[in-house]
């Protein structure tokens, strides 16, 4: 659990982060969204003390984050940034091993962990381990960056626009990979982005920041349904709201009894994808199948449209 209490950061006369308090539950993903200059990155960097706050306290599992020297604290917290920040003069394997080496793990344990992470990220340790970062594609570099952040098995992972430099297709894949890995390791992730789509997709909770203040901190559905201010409303995007709301729900939750013609859609797909398919193919209903391929029923345009309406 991460407790942020009354955190403020001032540079001379400018207040970058203004009295922010929030609690981040363990094993969840919290996405901090805001425009550039909103203070979201500064807030993130105060958690691992790359930036020292002017006032306020941050506690990790009850302990003040100033009870350790900064560099020791940072070794226990994963850190991944936009443009990956890989060390160009070190191989992929050496890059991933950075924190374990700093922590003084023995060579065999480091090698095991590096191989494990590379396999997890679909990079063959034999082929990719000895390569240098500039020999990899952008998507591979980003995966190595996240693998490096996770190398020492941190409980908390801080990510600053980690997918910002990726093209849309690779970004989707990277997001799915991260969600899968978060489930597997139960890591608490705090992710900074300016992309509301990403926030709604990734976040268990979303924190919206504007001009240094925490404007709203709530579950995605609530942010969409009840934006706390005009700013949040703009950020959510008025015309996108119904679709973002649908994207939060799974098809299996919108199933009605009955049958329909044509190719079935999996129950795990998002309701937004189902609506898009219905509209595009001009059909009134789609059959739905479960993970085992058995039919579950159908979804209809009317049923989905009702779900896209503003919740009461």
């Amino acid at each position: 659990m991460i407790e942020i209490e009354g955190i403020t950061k001032r540079y001379d006369a400018t207040t970058v982060v203004d009295d922010v308090s929030m609690v981040i539950e363990p094993r969840t993903i919290v996405v901090i969204v805001g425009t550039s200059g909103s203070g979201k990155t500064t807030l993130l960097r105060m958690i691992n003390r790359l930036v020292e706050p002017t006032a306020g306290v941050i506690r990790l599992d009850g302990a003040d984050n100033r009870s350790l020297p900064g560099y020791e604290l940072r070794r226990s917290i994963g850190y991944a940034i936009q443009g990956h920040g890989l060390f160009p003069h070190r191989t992929v394997a050496q890059n991933i091993a950075t924190v374990p080496v700093l922590l003084g793990w023995d060579a065999a344990r480091i090698k095991r962990r590096v191989d494990e992470l590379m396999t997890l990220y679909q990079l063959d340790p034999q082929a990719f381990g000895p390569r240098y970062p500039h020999e990899l594609s952008g998507g591979q570099q980003q995966r190595v960056g996240v693998a490096r952040a996770l190398a020492a098995e941190p409980n908390v992972l801080l990510m600053d626009e980690p997918f910002g430099a990726l093209d849309p297709i690779i970004r989707n894949k990277a997001q799915e990979d991260l969600l899968a890995i978060q489930k597997r390791f139960g890591t608490t992730i705090i992710l900074v982005t300016h992309d509301m789509e990403e926030a709604v997709h990734m976040g268990d909770k979303i924190a919206v920041m504007d001009a240094g203040k925490l404007v709203q901190y709530a579950k995605p559905a609530e942010i969409l349904a009840k934006p706390a201010s005009a700013f949040v409303e703009t950020l959510v995007g008025a015309s996108e709201k119904p679709f973002r709301l649908l994207s939060l729900g799974r098809v299996r939750d919108a199933v009605e009894t009955g049958t329909a013609e044509g190719e079935a859609i999996p129950g795990d797909a998002s309701q937004r994808d189902a609506l898009a398919e219905l509209l595009w193919s001009g059909r009134p209903a789609l059959p739905v199948k479960g993970a085992d391929g058995k039919p579950l029923g159908r979804v209809t345009v009317g049923g989905l449209v009702k779900r896209a309406a503003r919740p009461a």
Binding site: H84, H89, Y132
Partner: protein, 388 residues
Amino acid sequence: MTVRFDKLGVVIAAIVAYAAFAAPFATFRANRIVPGEARSILEALPAATGSPLLAVIVAAALIALLKTPLIMRLAAGVVALAALALLIGVAGSFLTPEGNTFARISPASGFWLLIFAFTLLLADVLTRLNLSPWARIGVLVVAAAAIGMLLVSGSWNSLSILKEYANRADSFWAEASKHVTLALGSLAAAVIAGLPLGILCHRVEKLRAGVLNVLNIIQTIPSIALFGLLIAPLGWVATHVPGAASLGIRGIGTAPAFVALFLYSLLPVVANTVVGLAGVPRAANDAARGMGMTERQRLFGVEFPLAFPVILTGIRIVLVQNIGLTTIAALIGGGGFGVFVFQGVGQTAMDLVLLGAVPTVALAFPAAIILDAVIEMTSTGRREAQPA
């Protein structure tokens, strides 16, 4: 089939044509200070070697002129240079009258131009072969060994520059060691002082402009003036600071030369350290801190290795510059190859000037090649990562 010309080959062939047929190959002088008489290739060599040499040169020039395979051009350059190097020695003994120890035979403009033209051909071939750093050092070693063997074999002993050497063999090696000590010692001092200064300038922005400007100004002071300017303060130190004189610190001699060379060396070392450190990707630095490296670990593990090729480039500049500048140290009694240059100028004995100048070039040239190779070796695999 059309005949196709090589662009650089046209230039080489033109130089060769002029040097072989219009310019003198060797100069004959009755003694070391009278003006010389020019001798062409056919006059300077016995008939049995003169015509074959001309044939070799013309053939090599033709190979250079036409578009020919690299390996053939390489062979042509090597054969022509070897023939020239061997036969200039033959010309020396052929032109020296029997039993005459005063006559001086030296290579003339035609010989130097031929050497230049074929070196150009070889340099072009070696560039196009795109050799690895180790291979370039290998070529250098082979060339140095060949020249060394010619020197040791005595086939050049009848040439004027080696006659000057024979008269001064002892002082030559003493000055050589002084030259190398001054050039390398001041470089080492500049690296020891310049690296920390560069790191400091990188970290403290307020210091950067000031320090670099001061070093820039020092760099613009003419070297002779700087040597002169140092006489007064170092003389004062020698007489007023106890123990300074016994360390060898005096107004003239090695101390001011060392200090001046040190000052000249600082700018390239400090400036390249600053540029190198500034070129370290921001994201890599941020990641290093974010993952829990201490300042020291970040400096030695990330910043320094990434800036190293740039810093090494600065050191290369300093090394080559110092080897050349050290010649001037002789003016204030600092020693080095400059001693022969200034003596030679004083006696209007060009051969003696060459005895100082040729070894200086012979030191600077390989130093540049070796450091270039090292820079390339340290840069491989460290190119800046492309943003994703």
